[in-house]
């Protein structure tokens, strides 16, 4: 705890959101899809571990915990099992699960009181399964929550929270899911007014929806915080992978907020415009826990293409060996330069004549002919020992 003495703390909360359990990643290979999909459930252990480590008083899960209202048995069962098997979890530490727009509270959702998911949860897990949800954490603190009850909506759920009654001096925590209206380029779904927390007399508004960690209006008197997704779901989520621990000191309204990294995967994009850039990437040793989108946008001789293929195999891995990168997606825009004939030295005449034929065709159908030449080059190389990579003639 930075600058906050343990005995001085009146309330500690762990705030998380946007787990998206059951989310698929169709743009990835099948194995990678499974890896990334499973990671959503695996990170729950880290989240609960952080809650334990910080001995928080409650865990607030601010919506979109499942990708869909009824994501399939393996997901809700997996989550319930993780809750049930977490070690040394005190009964007095509640966990609040809030339905978001991805997993709204409907009759078919896992949150519905009759759903088997509810029976599988330990008693300290509370589902916000009604409007006007209120849960006193202690004599000094109370949680108010409003669930999303549909996939889309225009209601401000934060403004649906009750006002502070005169004389109410408790720490009032709001828990809703929605979009603050200052996100450019987004049409607001369940909009949250910037001053909603203040208008309702809250001390902290825990919200979910945006996958990057973000404090809405950092200078505002009442903090409104997106903890972000604990595991990123896309390359444009720059600051995903966190949960937030919120500390309320005695006698002070304004809490201290501390983001903590829990995600395993870091997502990053690379554009390689020459072979050296690719070589540098391949030389990195920290790619095991990375999800990398690699865009190869470069010109290459047949020899360089062979090296590119090799480096790509090393990064991606093969059936026989794991790759250097945890998850790799490659987009290729490689323009082949077939003018280099050095590799023909020592080849049988018949193969030389084949190359000449293909080069003749290259004038009419350059893409196919160049790819064919690349195939031939690869076959020759694999059968006659790897010749030295010939660099593309640069002008």
């Amino acid at each position: 705890m930075t600058g906050v003495e343990e005995q001085d703390v009146a309330l500690k909360l762990l705030h998380t959101a946007d787990w998206h359990l059951g989310k698929r990643f169709p743009s990835f290979d099948e194995l990678d899809q499974k890896l990334l999909t499973r990671a959503r459930l695996e990170v729950i252990d880290s989240i609960l571990g952080q809650a334990q480590r910080h001995t928080v008083h409650a865990v607030l899960c601010a919506g979109d915990l499942f990708e869909d209202p009824d994501p399939g048995r393996e997901w809700w069962e997996g989550l319930a099992r993780r809750f049930s098997t977490v070690a040394d979890w005190p009964e007095t530490r509640p966990v609040f699960l809030l339905p978001g727009n991805h997993d709204p509270l409907t009759r078919k959702s896992v949150y519905w009181p009759e759903h088997p998911f509810r029976r599988a949860l330990p008693p300290w897990v509370h589902v916000v399964d009604r409007a006007g949800f209120e849960y006193p954490l202690s004599a000094e603190a109370v949680v108010y929550a409003e669930p999303c009850q549909s996939a889309a909506g225009q209601d401000d759920l934060a403004l649906a929270l009750p006002d502070r009654e005169p004389g109410d001096e408790r720490i009032r925590i709001g828990l809703v899911h929605g979009q603050t209206t200052d996100i450019p380029g987004h049409q607001s779904n369940f909009p949250i007014a910037r001053d909603a927390a203040q208008r309702r007399g809250l001390d902290y508004l825990a919200i979910g929806d945006t996958h990057s960690y973000r404090r809405v209006s950092p200078d505002a008197h009442v903090p409104v915080v997106y903890p972000g997704a604990p595991e990123a779901t896309a390359f444009d989520e720059s600051d995903a992978g966190h949960v937030v621990v919120v500390f309320f000191r005695r006698g002070r309204r304004r809490p201290h907020i501390k983001p903590i990294r829990v995600g395993r995967w870091q997502w990053e994009e690379h554009v390689c415009r020459d072979l050296d850039a690719l070589r540098q990437l391949a030389a990195r040793q920290d790619l095991k826990q990375r999800v990398v989108r690699l865009h190869l946008d470069l010109d290459a001789t047949l020899g360089e293409k062979a090296e590119i293929d090799r480096l790509e195999r090393e990064l991606k891995g093969t059936d026989a060996s794991p790759g250097q990168v945890g998850v790799l997606v490659v987009e290729r825009d490689i323009r082949l330069d077939t003018s280099d004939d050095n590799w023909l030295d020592g080849l049988p005449d018949i193969l030389v004549s084949v190359v000449k034929r293909l080069k003749a065709i290259e004038r009419d159908d350059p893409d196919t002919a160049r790819r064919a030449l690349a195939h031939l080059h690869t076959l020759v190389r694999s059968r006659s020992g790897a010749p030295a990579v010939t660099s593309r003639k640069r002008t």
Partner: protein, 1089 residues
Amino acid sequence: MRLVRLSVEHFGCVQRADVEFGNQLNVLYGPNDLGKSSLAAAIRAVLLLQPGSSAHEPYVSWQSGDAPEVVLTVETERHHYWRVHKRFGNKAVSTLHFSSNGRDFHCEFKGRQVDSELRKQLGWGIPEPGGRGGPRGFPTSFLTAALLAEQGEVADLFDRKLADDPDPSGKKLLADVLQATARDPLFGSIVKATQSKVDDAFTPTGKRSRARTSPFYGVAQELKKTASELDQLEIEAQKNRHIDQQITALNQQLLNQEAARERARQTLAGIEAMVAKQSELDRVRGELGRAEELIRQSEEAQRAQQEQFERSDQLKAHRDRCQEELDQARTALTRAEERIEQLRRDQREQEHRIRQCDLDRAELEHRRRDADDRAELARQVDTAGREHDRIAAELAALDTELADRQGQLADHRTTLEQLQAERDLLQAVDKWLRWRDLRDQLDKADQAAIELVQLFTEIEELSTKADELAEEIEVEVAAQPLPSAGEMARLRDIDGQLRVARAALDVGISVTIEPVNSVRVEVACDGEETVDLGDIREPRTVAAGREMRLTLPNLATMRVAGGSGDANSRYRAAVDSWAESAEPILSAAGVSSLDQLDRLFEQASERVGEIEELRRQVELLEEQAESKRQALIAVQPLRHRANALEDELSAHDLDQLDARVAELGESAASAVGDRIAAVQRDLDAAEKHTLHLQLDLAAQTQRRASTGETLERALERREKADRAIARLAASESSGVGPDALPSWQTVLQDAEEAMVDCERRLAELDEQRRALVEGASDAAARAELEAARERAIEAEKALHHAVAELEKARDELSRRNYDAETKIQAVETIEVEPLRARVNALAGELDELRAAHGGDGAAVASEADLENARALVGRAGAEVREVEKQLDQARGALRETGGERLREKLDDLHARHRQLQHKEQDVELDYRAWKLLLDALLEAEKEQAVHLGRSMAGPVADRFRELTSDRYGGLDLGPDLETHGIFAGGGQRRISVLSVGTKEQLSTIFRLSLAERLGSAVLLDDQLTQTDPRRMDWFRRKLREISQHIQIIVLTCRAGDYLIDDELPRDRAKLKEGAGVRAIQLENVISRT
């Protein structure tokens, strides 16, 4: 191909010979004239010569003249053994047997098919026998010259070329083989890898493979699935976008409507303010008006009070005048009453006279009425007579018209009957025609019934035949049960396992026995018969393919098996499995091999096919029969119809109908229909006209009856009038006879005269009475009296009126006094000026309001304006509520469609779809490139392989250079392997310049190279006789080297040229097997005649 065994009988000088060849180098040696070339010729003959050809004659047994007979077993490919048996001559025999193990043969071809099959299999450029251009005599080709060259034709190969072959199969075989074997290993490997890639993606016809293993399949399926999901999501997203747009539009609409409502509210408020102001103004104005009215009324009341004072004075004067007038009138009245009394007395006398005049007048009135009655009676008689005459004339005219109409009706009835008769006849003709048509159909149906019976018979026969065949097969199957398809599959599986297991053992075994002392050895290789090697003292090597049993009599038996322990285990397991599972089935089926079982299956299949064919025929016939039966059933109603028509036609003269049909011509059926329709139309028209006539006639008859009745009534009236006249006349002249009675004209004239007289007398009487009445009264007195009375009455009335007026004036005066006093008091409290000031202020405020609301400043906000403004506000409010309702609905719909979540999924899927499209394009490009590469590789290879000489020249030249210590360079071979020359001394030389020995060496190398390429056995019939020992040594080594790949059969009289001493069989041994060399001592093999 390799030769396995040769058996010869009665072939030239050879009485009998039986040779088993080794797989590699076979050196068959013996002295001259032993029959070596006969054996070579026997091989050529059995492979190439048709048994009935006269070309066999040189080979007829020299001694006995028996027909030469040759049996040759060859292995064309692994596990494909063929045994050719030919007996040449008049009793020619030719068979070709096949075996998969070299032991169990079965006959595949006989007679002419043998050569046909052989030439096809060998592919040596010899056409199949019998066709146009087929060879006569001993056929030869480039490859027969190369592989089976006769002894003296060693250099003949240099004069041949493939293009001269009678069949292109030789060139094709060589092209295929050379193309495959000439490949550079790297090139071959690349072709193979490329072909594999292309095979993965394309069908043999070059189309994209749709197989699951195709590289296109996975991505295409995934793309299809993604596209499908995308389409579904797009539909939802479209809905979502639509709802979004709807919400945006509705929000805008709501703003507009709220603004409109606000404007309407403001307008209403303005109007309400104006109305309130107007109301206030009106109220104040009312107050002002009322005040002014009160003042005016006050003034008016004072004026009226004054006037009333004046009027009261006038009325008093008037009353006095009226009183005076009344007094004068009363005096005059008294005088008039006195005079009237006198007059009344005179009047009573006059009244008596007047009553007498009235009695006279009544008498005259009675007479006049009587005359009037008689005149009326006379006029009635006249009128009744004229009426009777008119009606009688009318009745006569009606009778004439009625007779005319009845005539017309009779004529029409005749026409009608004629038309009905025509119609009935035509209908009978129509039925007649239909009956004849039905009769034709029924005749055909009867014919079909006969055919149906025949079909049933045929079906019965075929069914019986099929059943009999089926029973036969059942009996056969029961006698010789065939395995089921499952068992058959199992057998094939076991057979395959056995072959694979056996092949795994076939790794080649070479055992060298190095005896310490002389030891007798017997050897059996690869399951063949045991060969006694005799006592051996020197090391001896024995070779086998997969197994070998070495027996040292009385000492030991050693079994050597090729392959690993596992392979042997698998082989034994396969053999056991075969014995356990396959042999009982084969035995039950009465066959010894799978092939025989296959043939049994084929035969059974053919029989089943026959049955199925019969059953198909039966089904076909049954379908035909059913079709006919249905047709017959369909005909049955026609038969009933025909019978009904016959009954209907029984009343008609059929000859007449036929005649009428003949009149109608060929298209009678349609003509009669038209004619019936036409007649029916005429008939309908005639019936209609007749009906009109009948109705007309009935009306005329009715009218005549009515006129008759009228006439009778007129007659009655006339008679009645006549009787009245008579009665009148009789009453006036009683006693007069009827003949003396006056006519009605006389009566009328008398009556009119009497009436005129009465009128005149009445006028006189009235004048007389009037005079009496006037004479009986004193008009002046009466008038005076009346005037006096009236004057008195008027005066009294005037007095009363004047008194009343005066009283009223007094009351009015009193009231007006009070009114004036009251109003004066009220006016005294009114302040008019403040009210006027207030009115002006309110009017100003109202003008300001009007100006503020765009009014013209003069118009007054009416109640209607207010109502309109309220209605406008109401409508605006309703529209706002309606838009809010729509907005709520749209938001509700958005809640259902998924909003942001849907967009995220759609983005994910779009990304995936683009990725897959890119991948699909990449895979397509990749495999298009593989295909292009393969095409380029094969084209390059084809271009190279078409020139066969280029493929062959290299290996031949290399070996020749080696043999001749580089004295000679490359061999110049043409595309068809024709020899153009050889390079030596820096230039090309003709072959003819070479020495005989060099030529035969070059030829042998060429032949060996060709055989090597073909993988075929080659026969060298003592063709290196001119070769020196040094080069012979080279050949000996080279032959051993080459024989590792192909079988070489050398026939020679100089065993030492090819064998070393150790390789020669001892004494009377037929052969000796060395390392890859089998030496066969022909003296111990050939029996000469």
